[in-house]
Point group: C2
């Protein structure tokens, strides 16, 4: 089969021939039809990830055919027994095991779930990791409820957009932030009630004034901007975060956090049980993940270049 | 009656004559037998509190007699309807309303609770605010369970010591930190399994090695030391904090927080329902709050001087 392979640390992926996988007990060979990129894949090609093993086909998100069924894949292995956190043997799909940037994948059968009927291959591949991360952060961790006010920062990434869709479908009032006015505009079309450009001085004060404050904030940037959140929070608010791309948080004041009974919840991935609940929600509300662009698997290098530029709105997908 | 009164902003308390209170509808006049100091009282005398109103008798913690019954006081007014956070009209007892540093107090009847049988007046007065804060932080917010490992930082303060007692009674394995080896020693006598002196370089690494990590951390210091907690946390850990006396948090890394599914919970005070549950727990486990020292009400200034020095182990109590 053909696959996008990382051959050595810190190198680009190569589209090349790889051995066809063979299934062991309780495993399946899925013929992949589409896969989606995640920042994790980019970080691995940049050598910014612990324990990189080569050669390996990357890719955590995939959808394809198995025994005539349209299936997508729970994007991790061995969550473990505790619903609150992943166990010691937990791995994200795609490194160290071969992942979804390939024509075929060998995967435990329990990782296989039916594709919601309303999704095509590219949309299906765009869903698993982003949808699972958004689901756990919003619902399992931050207990978002109908009628609450939500701020989703850095709108445009896959998780942030899926969180926007989930929160809107829940009946929350959703606001977004971005450094790109066009992305805020597009989020508004998707149901956001408003937004703020964080490149403008005093954005957080205006947003507080406009909205009255937030019950839930979803963030993946961290950095010094994180210290603005306590003032933006309503009493009893929850801040969920699944990334920290802007680095460590400085200047975080605890007084508003304890006086307003605020919780900060770190969150990553999710359990198979959460994945199943997320898929049911997507099916029920006919949510369609946002696909930014589709590249053939053979042009994976171009897809990575696009992700590196950071201008995408939604998921970058590979098609087999 | 006699009372300890703050007469103007930023001034010491004066032991002086004040008008006897009179009860309105649904109110009671409690003859106070003992009251306890809290840092809040000290901050007010130092002018470090918003909206100081004078003249006023301070004091959030009190125990006394009402209609022949031994009673202690829920230390706040108007928590509000939401169990998750206090409402807009919430006030801590003792400023703006007259508090417990007086021979009598006028208080809503619903603030009155029976003193657990095993406590004397001074022990009873030492319980309310510290016990309520420890209760909410440990159980309502951090969901401490039997068998979990707990770190309580800055042992010696009233809340920290009560949290130690509650956690030990729950069957948790409790460790403490302090800058004073003598306080760690005393905490060990009270049931702590060990401790670390945070003035010693590398204390957190040794403590991690010794304990394997913590499921719950209780802190009221904040500051840069707070950034050490993510590394000390086990997967699924909860950090509860009810103060931030060392100032803003810098250098907080989000990666271990989200990867290990850690939650940081701000917490303050608690609802009347939590107060009732806390009293039942104290009664059941015959927990005796630690009283550092007792001063007559007339020598309140000495009691404040002692608190300012910060060498106490347990509550500083005034006796009427």
């Amino acid at each position: 089969m053909k696959a996008l392979i990382i051959k050595q640390l810190n190198s680009l992926l190569e589209f090349s021939e790889a051995a066809d996988p063979t299934a062991g007990k309780n495993e399946a060979i899925v013929s992949l039809r589409a896969a989606a990129l995640n920042h994790r894949d980019l970080f691995i090609t940049q050598g910014l990830y612990a324990g990189i093993k080569t050669p390996c086909a990357l890719g955590s998100d995939g959808a394809g055919e198995w025994r005539g069924n349209r299936v997508l894949l729970y994007p991790a292995l061995e969550w473990g027994n505790n619903p609150n956190f992943q166990g010691k043997n937990f791995r994200v799909l795609g490194m160290p095991e071969n992942g979804c940037f390939a024509e075929q994948i060998c995967i435990p059968r329990k990782n296989i779930f039916p594709v919601p009927d309303h999704l095509d291959w590219e949309q299906a591949a765009a869903l698993p990791l982003a949808g699972l991360t958004a689901w756990r952060t919003l619902f399992s961790r931050c207990k978002l409820k109908k009628g609450e006010k939500v701020l989703i920062t850095g709108i445009g990434g896959g998780v942030a957009l899926t969180a926007l869709q989930f929160a809107v479908a829940t009946g929350a009032d959703v606001f977004v932030s971005s450094g790109d006015a066009g992305k805020i505009e597009r989020a508004t079309v998707m149901g956001a009630k408003g937004g703020a450009n964080y490149r403008e001085e005093g954005w957080e004060k205006r947003l507080k004034q406009e909205t009255g404050g937030f019950d839930v904030i979803i963030d993946s940037a961290g950095g010094d901007g994180f210290a603005l959140f306590p003032a933006l929070c309503n009493p009893g608010a929850r801040v969920g975060f699944y990334g920290g791309s802007l680095g460590k948080v400085n200047g975080l004041s605890l007084q508003p956090l304890f006086w307003k009974q605020i919780s900060l919840h770190g969150s990553t991935m999710g359990s198979p049980r959460e994945f199943r609940a997320m898929l049911a929600f997507v099916q029920k509300h006919e949510i369609v993940p946002v696909v930014d662009s589709v590249f053939p698997l053979s042009e994976g290098a171009k897809a990575f270049k696009k992700m590196e530029q950071g201008k995408q709105f939604g998921k970058i997908v590979l098609s087999m």
